[in-house]
C-alpha cells in the first residue's frame, strides 16, 4: 500500500512523531484528570515517583514490563506480516493451561531450572496452537483474522473458566484457581540486581522471566531483520501480491507468523503465574494482551521500541497503583484511559500531525523531506 505522505528523516519518523503522539495522549489524559478535579501535574509527579522513586517501585515497574514485552512482541510479529493479532489475550490465557499442567506435574520432583524451560515450552506451544486455527482459517478459508481471534479470546476465556472451576481446582477449595505451586515451580527473583545499584527492595515479583523477555526481544529482532523467514514475513506484510509473485507460500507464512506470535503471547503466562502468584488463577492475564497492542504501536513494532514502550506501560501500571492510593478519585482505570489514548494517537491517528511536521521540515530544509530544491517551477 502506498502512503500518500512524503518521507521524513528517520529520526523524525521513529523518534519525533511517536513522541508528539505520546505527548498529545498524555495531554488529553491530563484533561481527564482535571475533569475529575485533581491536579494533573501532581498526578504525573506521583506516578513517576511511584514507578521510579524507590527500588521497590522499579522492581514492580520491570515486573509489569516483562508481561508487556511478551505481548507487545506477539502483536508486533504479526504486524510485520500485515496481520492484526488481537488474540494475544486469549493465547496468553490458554497458555496458562500449559503452565498449570507442567507445574502441577513436576513442581514436587524437578528443580525450577528444569521446570522453567518445560513450562516455557508448554506455554509457547499452547499459545501457538491457539493461534494456529485462526491463522489456518485466514490463510485457507479467508475468514478475517481480527474477527476470529476476538472470538477465540472469548472461547479461551470460557475454556479456562470451565477448567479452573472444575478440573484444575483442588478438591474442597472454593476459589477458581489451581493449588499453590511448590518450590520447584517458583521462579527466582531478580530483585538483587536492583539492590546491586544501592536501592532497597522489600518484596517485588520481578523474576527471571524478565531475562527471558529480553532474550525474546533480541531473538525477534534476529528473526525479523536477519533471517530469510523474517524477510519473507516483511515482504508479505508489505505486499502480499509481491510475496506471491516471489514464490512465497501465503499459507505457510501466515501460519508460521501467527504461531510465533501466539508462542510469544503464550510465554507471557509464565510471569504472573510462576513468577508472582505461584498458581494459575482466573483472569490472570487481565488485559495484558490488549496492552500489547498499545506497546507494539508505541514501539513501532521494533523490539527496542517495544522494550521501551513496555517499560513505559510498566511505569503506568506501577505508578498508577501508587496514584490510586494517593488520589482516591483516580483508580487504576485511569491507566485504561491512557492506554486507549495512546492507541488512538499513536495508532489510529498516527498521521494526524505528519502533514504539519512535513510542512515545518520543508520550510527549513526542503531536501530533508525529499523535495526538489527548485520548488517554484511547478509540476
Amino acid at each position: 500500500m502506498s502512503t500518500p505522505y512524503a518521507k521524513l528523516p528517520a529520526w523524525a519518523d521513529y523518534g519525533l512523531i511517536p513522541l508528539i503522539n505520546l505527548a498529545v495522549a498524555f495531554i488529553v489524559a491530563g484533561f481527564v484528570v482535571l475533569l475529575v478535579g485533581e491536579n494533573p501535574f501532581r498526578a504525573a509527579a506521583i506516578l513517576v515517583e511511584g514507578a521510579f522513586g524507590r527500588g521497590q517501585g522499579i522492581a514492580f515497574t520491570l515486573y509489569y514490563a516483562t508481561t508487556f514485552i511478551f505481548t507487545g512482541l506477539s502483536v508486533a510479529v504479526a504486524v510485520h506480516c500485515g496481520l492484526f493479532n488481537i488474540g494475544t489475550e486469549g493465547q496468553a490465557y490458554i497458555a496458562g493451561l500449559g503452565v498449570a499442567v507442567v507445574c502441577l506435574t513436576f513442581d514436587a520432583t524437578l528443580p525450577w531450572w528444569l521446570t522453567f524451560p518445560l513450562a516455557t515450552l508448554a506455554a509457547a506451544a499452547m499459545g501457538a496452537l491457539w493461534a494456529l486455527l485462526p491463522a489456518y482459517l485466514q490463510a485457507k478459508r479467508g475468514s478475517h483474522i481480527v474477527i476470529t481471534t476476538i472470538m477465540f479470546n472469548f472461547i479461551a476465556a470460557s475454556i479456562m473458566v470451565y477448567l479452573l472451576v472444575g478440573m484444575l481446582k483442588p478438591v474442597g477449595s472454593m476459589a477458581p484457581q489451581t493449588r499453590i505451586f511448590l518450590e520447584g515451580a517458583q521462579l527466582p527473583k531478580l530483585n538483587w540486581v536492583i539492590e546491586l545499584f544501592g536501592a532497597r527492595v522489600r518484596s517485588a515479583p520481578l523474576n527471571i522471566s524478565f531475562l527471558l523477555a529480553l532474550l525474546m526481544a533480541f531473538l525477534t529482532w534476529v528473526l525479523i531483520w536477519r533471517t530469510r523467514l523474517g524477510y519473507e514475513i516483511r515482504t508479505y506484510g508489505h505486499s502480499p501480491k509481491a510475496a506471491r509473485y516471489a514464490g512465497i507460500s501465503e499459507t505457510r507464512i501466515i501460519i508460521i507468523t501467527m504461531m510465533i506470535s501466539g508462542a510469544l503471547g503464550g510465554m507471557m503466562a509464565l510471569n504472573p503465574t510462576m513468577g508472582d502468584q505461584h498458581n494459575v488463577a482466573i483472569d490472570f492475564v487481565s488485559g495484558a494482551g490488549f496492552v500489547g497492542i498499545a506497546v507494539a504501536l508505541m514501539g513501532r513494532s521494533h523490539p527496542v521500541g517495544i522494550v521501551l514502550a513496555a517499560i513505559l506501560f510498566g511505569m503506568l501500571y506501577q505508578g498508577g497503583a501508587e496514584l490510586a492510593f494517593e488520589m482516591p478519585a483516580i483508580s487504576r482505570d485511569m491507566i485504561v484511559i491512557i492506554q486507549g489514548l495512546v492507541i488512538l494517537f499513536a495508532g489510529a491517528l498516527e498521521h494526524m500531525f505528519r502533514p504539519s511536521i512535513q510542512a515545518l521540515f520543508a520550510s527549513f530544509s526542503p531536501k530533508s523531506v525529499g523535495m526538489a530544491a527548485a520548488k517554484g517551477k511547478g509540476a
Partner: protein, 323 residues
C-alpha cells in the same frame, strides 16, 4: 400448561436479551455497509449506557438520559470517523482505542461524580424506561395460548425494545429503498465509483457512523435504563462483540440480523435457564459452553462451513482520493 409457561418465559427473556444485541448489530450494519469496520461497538454502547444513566439520575428524566446516551455515543462514533475517515487511520486500531477509552472513562467519571465505586445511583421510577402494556393486553390475558402470547410475550417491554424491533424493517427500507441506502451500499463495495459519480465518500461515511452512534446509544440506554436500573462497571460484558458476531452471522443483512440476534439471545436465555439442570440424552451442559456457543458458531460460519459470509468489499480500507 407448565411447560407452556416455561417456554413463554424463556422466549420472553430471549426478547429482552436480544434487544441490545439487535441495536448494536444494526449499528454495526450501517457502519460496515459503508466500508468502516467497527470493533468499537462495545465501547460506544458502554459510554451510551453510562451517559444515559448518569443524565437520567441527575435530571430525573428518562428522556434526557436517552438523549444524552445518543449524543455521547455519536461523539465517540465521530472520533472513530475522525481517525479512520479523515485521517485514514487503521479502523481496527481506532475501534480498540475507543473500547479502552470507554471502559476507563466511564469508571473514572462515574467514581468522581457519584462516589459509588463507578456505579451511577439507582434510577427511580420516572428515570428509567418502564414496561409498556400494549392495548388490550389485560383484556385478552385469559384467552388460552394466543391471548397469553400477546400479553406475556409481546406486551410489557420498554419503549426502546419496541424501537429496536421497529428498526429492522426501517433499516431494510433505508438500505434497499432509499437513495441514501443505495449509496451507502455502494460506498462499502466500491468507493471510487461513488466518488466518480460526484458523491462525497467522506460525508456519506460520516452519516453512516452517525446512524451507528444513534443506535449504539439506544443499545446502551437499554442496558442501563431498562434492563438494569443504573450503570454498572463494564456492563456491556462483551455484548458489542457478540453483536459483531451476529452481524457476520447475518451476512450484513438487516432481517437476518434480527434472527441472528434472537438466536444469540435465545442461547443466552437458555444458558441462564439451564444452569445446572441436566438435559435428557446430553446430560449436564456446562454454562461456559453455552456462553461460548455464539463465538464458536461465528467461527464456524466465518470458515465457510455453513454458507459463506462475504463482507462489504471496501471494508477496512481507508479511501484515498485519486490525485
Amino acid at each position: 400448561m407448565d411447560i407452556f409457561n416455561i417456554i413463554i418465559q424463556t422466549l420472553d427473556s430471549t426478547l429482552r436479551l436480544s434487544v441490545p444485541l439487535l441495536l448494536a448489530c444494526l449499528a454495526g450494519l450501517y457502519s460496515e455497509r459503508s466500508g468502516i469496520f467497527d470493533i468499537g461497538l462495545e465501547g460506544k454502547m458502554l459510554v451510551g449506557a453510562f451517559a444515559g444513566a448518569a443524565a437520567a439520575s441527575v435530571f430525573h428524566s428518562a428522556f434526557i438520559g436517552l438523549g444524552m446516551a445518543i449524543l455521547i455515543s455519536i461523539s465517540f462514533a465521530m472520533i472513530h470517523g475522525f481517525a479512520s475517515i479523515t485521517h485514514r487511520g487503521n479502523q481496527i486500531v481506532s475501534g480498540v482505542a475507543i473500547n479502552f477509552i470507554a471502559a476507563g472513562s466511564t469508571v473514572i467519571l462515574g467514581q468522581a461524580w457519584f462516589q459509588q465505586g463507578g456505579r451511577t445511583p439507582a434510577l427511580a421510577e420516572g428515570e428509567r424506561f418502564s414496561p409498556i402494556t400494549l392495548p388490550g393486553a389485560d383484556a385478552v390475558k385469559d384467552v388460552p395460548v394466543l391471548g397469553h402470547l400477546y400479553s406475556e410475550l409481546l406486551s410489557g417491554h420498554s419503549l426502546i425494545a419496541y424501537i429496536a424491533f421497529a428498526m429492522v424493517p426501517i433499516t431494510w427500507w433505508v438500505l434497499y429503498r432509499t437513495r441514501f441506502g443505495l449509496r451507502l451500499r455502494a460506498v462499502g463495495e466500491n468507493p471510487a465509483a461513488v466518488d466518480t459519480a460526484g458523491i462525497s465518500v467522506t460525508w456519506l461515511r460520516y452519516r453512516a457512523l452517525l446512524c451507528t452512534g444513534v443506535l449504539t446509544g439506544l443499545a446502551g440506554a437499554y442496558l442501563s435504563m431498562t434492563q438494569n436500573g443504573g450503570f454498572v462497571k463494564d456492563m456491556t460484558a462483551g455484548k458489542g462483540y457478540i453483536a459483531l458476531a451476529a452481524l457476520i452471522f447475518a451476512k450484513w443483512k438487516p432481517v437476518n440480523a434480527m434472527f441472528a440476534c434472537l438466536l444469540f439471545g435465545f442461547l443466552d436465555a437458555l444458558a441462564i435457564r439451564l444452569q445446572g439442570t441436566p438435559l435428557p440424552i446430553i446430560g449436564k451442559v456446562p454454562v461456559q459452553f453455552m456462553q461460548a456457543l455464539p463465538y464458536i458458531l461465528t467461527v464456524v460460519l466465518l470458515a465457510g462451513f455453513i454458507g459463506k459470509a462475504i463482507p462489504p468489499r471496501a471494508g477496512g480500507v481507508p479511501y484515498v482520493k485519486e490525485r
